[in-house]
Amino acid sequence: MISLKDISSCFEGVIPAMMSTCSLEGEPNVTEISQVHLVDEKHVALSHQFFNKTQRNVRENPHATILLHAPVTYRLYRLQLRLDHSEAEGPLFDEMSARLQVIASHTGMLGVFKLRSADVYEVLSVEELAHFFLPADPRLDPPQPTTGVLDAMARELRILRAISDRVNRASCLEVLLEQVFQALDEQLGFHHSMVLLPDDRGHLVTTASHGYGSEGVGAEVPLGEGLIGTVAARRRPMRVAGVGAELRYWRTIRAELQHAGKAPAAPEIPLPGLPDAQAQLALPLLVGDRLVGVLALESREAMAFDAWTETFLNILANQIALGIDRASSAEEEPEATLEQPGPGAAPGTARRPRVFQLFRNDDCIFVDGEYLIRNIPAKILWKLLRAHAENGRTEFSNRELRLDDSLGLPELRDNLESRLILLRKRLEEKCPEVRIRPVRRGRFVLDVGCAVQLRESDSA
C-alpha cells in the first residue's frame, strides 16, 4: 500500500477532494470537501462543521471513499476509509478548529460556524489511479531535474548557517530583520515576508516587511484574528495553502447567509499583505513561552510552504526571536562603531511646511490630516519634535527615552528599538522630510528637512 506520508502533499488542501458515502438504505451520496487532514500513518481526519447527508451517512454506515489530487503533479489517489471515532476536544480538534476560524475570520465569519468534531477515519487502502493520465509525453512533460535528499538537506543546512551568521552579526534589530528578509528572498526564494511585534494593547504591529513596498508597516492585527493573530494567540506555527479556494468557499457561505437574511455583521478583514496570496505561513517568535513577535510569509504559489519549510523556518524563527529579545534590552554602547550614516535630509526649510497634530486622548499623531502613528512611538515622536522646536536639538539617546516616565515605556523589555523602527518606517512613508537616523548603537539623530508646525488638542 502507498504510505500516507508519501502523498503528504495531498493533505495541504490545495485541491478539493471528492468524497462518497452511502446510507443504510443503499443510497450513495457524493460531495466535494476542501481539506483532508493527515493524522498519522493509518488515519486521516475530516472536519464536521455542518449536519449534512455525508455526516448522517457515515454515522450509520462508516464506509467512505475519497479521490485526492496531489498538488503540482495532479496525480489522483483513491482512499477507502472507515469512520473510527470523533473528537470534540484535544490537540487535533484544536488544530482543525483554529484552521477553520483563520479562514473564516478573513471573510468576517469568525465564530459563525464552529467545528463540531474532528472525524477520524481509519485508512483501509490507498491506490494511485495510474490510468487517470495518458502516458507521459516527453514533448509535454520535460524531465524534472532531481536532487538527492542528502544534497538538498546539505544545501538547506548551508543556507541556515548563512542566515544564522547574519542574524548573529546584526548590529541592531533593524539590520537583523533586513538581513533575515534578504536571506529569505535570495537564498530561499520567499519574496514576501514581514515581522509583527506585539504592542501594549495586545495588537501585533507590522514593524518591518519585505516585498510589499513601503505600504503595510504600521498595519495592526488583533490577537486571535486571522492567521497571524491566531498564530500569536496559540504560539504555534500554522500554514494555509490554497488560500484562494478557501476564501471563495467562505465568501459563498457568507453570500448565502446574507441571502437568507442571516448575514454576519463583521466586515471582511483583508489578507495581511498580498491580495492574491495562495499560500501563507506564520511562525510565532518565542523566547521560552514569551511571544516577542510573529514572522509571516506569503506566496502566490499554492505549494510554496510545506511541512519541511515550516520546520526549517521554525529554527530560524527561534534565532530571530533571540535577536529581537537581545535588541529590546540592549544598552547604549557609546564606543560602538558608527553606523554608515545615510544621506542627510536636505537642510533648510524650502519644502512645504508639515503640520503635526497630536490628539492627546488617543496618543495619536496625524501629519497634514493623515494618520501617522499612535501610542508610545507617538509620544516619543512628540518629545523629539518638541525638543527640536524649542531648542534645536537633533541628537538623542535611547537612555534618555528610557528614563522619561511620561513615555510609558515598560521597565523590563521595553521594545524601544522596535518602536523606533516602526516610527522611522512610518515617517519614511508619510513624511520623508522628517527622519530618524541611527548614528551608533543607542543614539540617533532627528533630521528635519522642512518647516514643522506642532498642534495639540484633546481629541479629533
Binding site: M18, P28, L129, H131, L134, T252, E256, A260
Partner: protein, 164 residues
Amino acid sequence: MAPLDAALIEFLGSGVVLGAASRDDRLVPEVVRPAGIRVEPGGEEITLFLASAWAGPMLRNLESNRRLALVATNPQDNRSVQLKGAVVDVRPAREDERPLTDQYRARFARMLEPLGVPRAFVLRTQIWPATAVRFRVEAMFLQTPGPAAGQPFQAPLRTPGAPE
C-alpha cells in the same frame, strides 16, 4: 420529478467539476470523476461517460445495483447541485460520442485555468475509450455551501447571494 430546466442543463454542460458515486452490495461507496456528460432530450435522463481504464469498480457496482449520485460544482463560484437516480443503461460509448468527452475536457480545462490549474494537466487526462452510463434523475438537491445546502433543488440555480 420535473425535467431539468434549461439553465441547469447549460450548467451541467459548462465544464463544471463532476463527481459520480455508487456503492457495492456491502454498502461500500465508490467515486469517480466522469469524463463527459449529456442531458438526454426531455431533461429527465442523463448520460455520463466514464473512462473505462479506471472506472472498473464503479461499473461493477452499477451492474449489481442501479443507484447513482452525481454532484456538479462550479469551482469559480461554488454553485453546486447533486442529482440522484437509477441507472437505466450501461454500454460502451460510441465513436460518434467521443466529441462529447473531448468537449467536456476542453471546457473543464477552461474552467480550472483561472484557478491556477495548468490546462496541459487536464488535457492529459485519460477519457477514451469510455463507458456510457445513462440514469434517470429521481431527486435533486442544492449543494451550494450555506444554510440552504442539502435542501431539495428548486430551479433556477442561483449565483450565491443573488436574489431568487
